[in-house]
Symmetry: C2
Subunit: 258 residues, 2 copies
């Protein structure tokens, strides 16, 4: 049996940190119509969670347009919990958008009541993080604080500390994605995750080793304490993701008795 | 891409240590008829290798009976490479059979030309190992020297050293199966395997973390240097094995591009 998180995050029907790792699909369309069409396709694949990568939207800088898409998305995806993520180019995302504009966008999105979880990078300045945190708490929206490294896999203790740091900064969910150069790097990520789950991180954890070598972490990471895995629906949102159909079938084998 | 072994072992169509980990099914029937029926069922499941656990045979002490079954088995399984294993009770196997009788049985089996690989425990005395080694070399039969621990998972360096020790003793293939108490133990086994593959062990390696927690090692161990995984055909031969159909489907996901 996998070790559940000490504190779980429940959003609608989704228990994050519970007996099974959850599967999330990302909406990564650029045009509004594309995003809405994608949403319909992804819903049919029955993910546990959806993420809107608003940074991929071609009108991300227009808050009104973003909120219009968000409203339509919420209607289309019904009760599926939605993660709202605006990852800028410097963070490995797509949008070039100013700090102030991003803060306004995320705040406005939270205020609509149409998003359940917001994901921001832990490397943002403390004031930015604090402002988002306050508005999120006010509206009952949960927070993912994340760390990405698209170049390499840091040491086990660095990864462990980053997950603790996210928690200390007020994250409901600590997320970390790193790039392996070797299969040993994949084991380093899994080991750090397992130690965080059995150690100081009390809330849900989301970790992944990216790229081809790391694909196994997307399938089996749940055994070692990762509570959400991102799969490919229509298009992948990060390297190494597995198509949701294959992932579901293989996860049944590993999480059979849970 | 998984790291292949520096020295591969080719038996018929099976390349052990090659681009893909191979799947082996074990014959564990007690009565002759049962074993032969089981063989037919297992062949239909298209494993890469078959293992006859002769220690499960109810007439294991009668060498003539064993050879009769072996002959019939060979006819039934056609060209599928066959591992011949007589694991005694003290080694986690079934048979209570004397050292001398076992030596005679294995020697006779090798001499028939009907077995391709013989698996013996590394903990046997040096003279026993040496005798089997000489007769195996004479008949072109490959050797697995194995270490089992059904109680716990030793340290990473112990596991690494056991795999090296098997090679030093003359094994063509080094095998080790240990029992995890935690998911960290599973990572210890995978890490030791990966280091052996990239380190001093030049031939194929077979490792597994047993039990429910270790099942992931049977599916993904090939990424970290394990070259054969044992699946369930009709009956499992060790705890934590996955049914071959499920294992094949999930391995396609992990070893897609290889």
């Amino acid at each position: 049996m996998r070790q559940q998180s000490k504190i779980q995050v429940t959003v609608g029907d989704a228990v994050i940190g519970g007996s099974k790792p959850l599967i999330c699909l990302s909406l990564v369309g650029a045009a509004k119509e594309e995003i809405i069409t994608e949403a319909g396709l992804l819903v049919a694949m029955e993910p546990d969670l959806l993420e809107w990568r608003v940074d991929a939207y071609d009108k991300v800088e227009n808050i009104e347009d973003c909120l219009t898409v968000l409203k339509e998305l919420r209607t289309n995806i019904c009760e599926i919990p939605l993660i709202f993520t605006c990852r800028i180019d410097l963070e490995g995302g797509i949008a070039k958008i100013s700090r102030q504009k991003r803060l306004e966008l995320i705040t406005a999105a939270i205020e609509t009541g149409d998003v359940d979880i917001v994901d921001i990078e832990l490397c943002n300045d403390a004031e930015f993080v604090e402002e988002i945190r306050n508005i999120a708490i006010l509206h009952g929206v949960k927070l993912i604080f994340s760390y990405h490294n698209f170049k390499e896999t840091p040491s086990e203790s660095f990864i462990y500390q980053k997950l603790v740091e996210a928690q200390t900064a007020g994250a409901d969910i600590s997320k970390l994605a790193v790039m392996p150069k070797t299969y040993q790097d994949v084991l380093t990520l899994l080991s750090a995750t397992n130690k965080a789950r059995n150690g100081e991180v009390h809330g849900p954890i989301v970790t992944m080793s990216m790229g081809e070598e790391g694909a196994v972490s997307r399938l089996a990471g749940g055994l070692f304490g990762s509570d959400i895995t991102f799969a490919v629906g229509v298009k992948s949102s990060a390297p190494g993701q597995i198509p949701i159909k294959d992932l579901k079938e293989s996860m049944v084998v590993l999480f059979r008795s849970e």
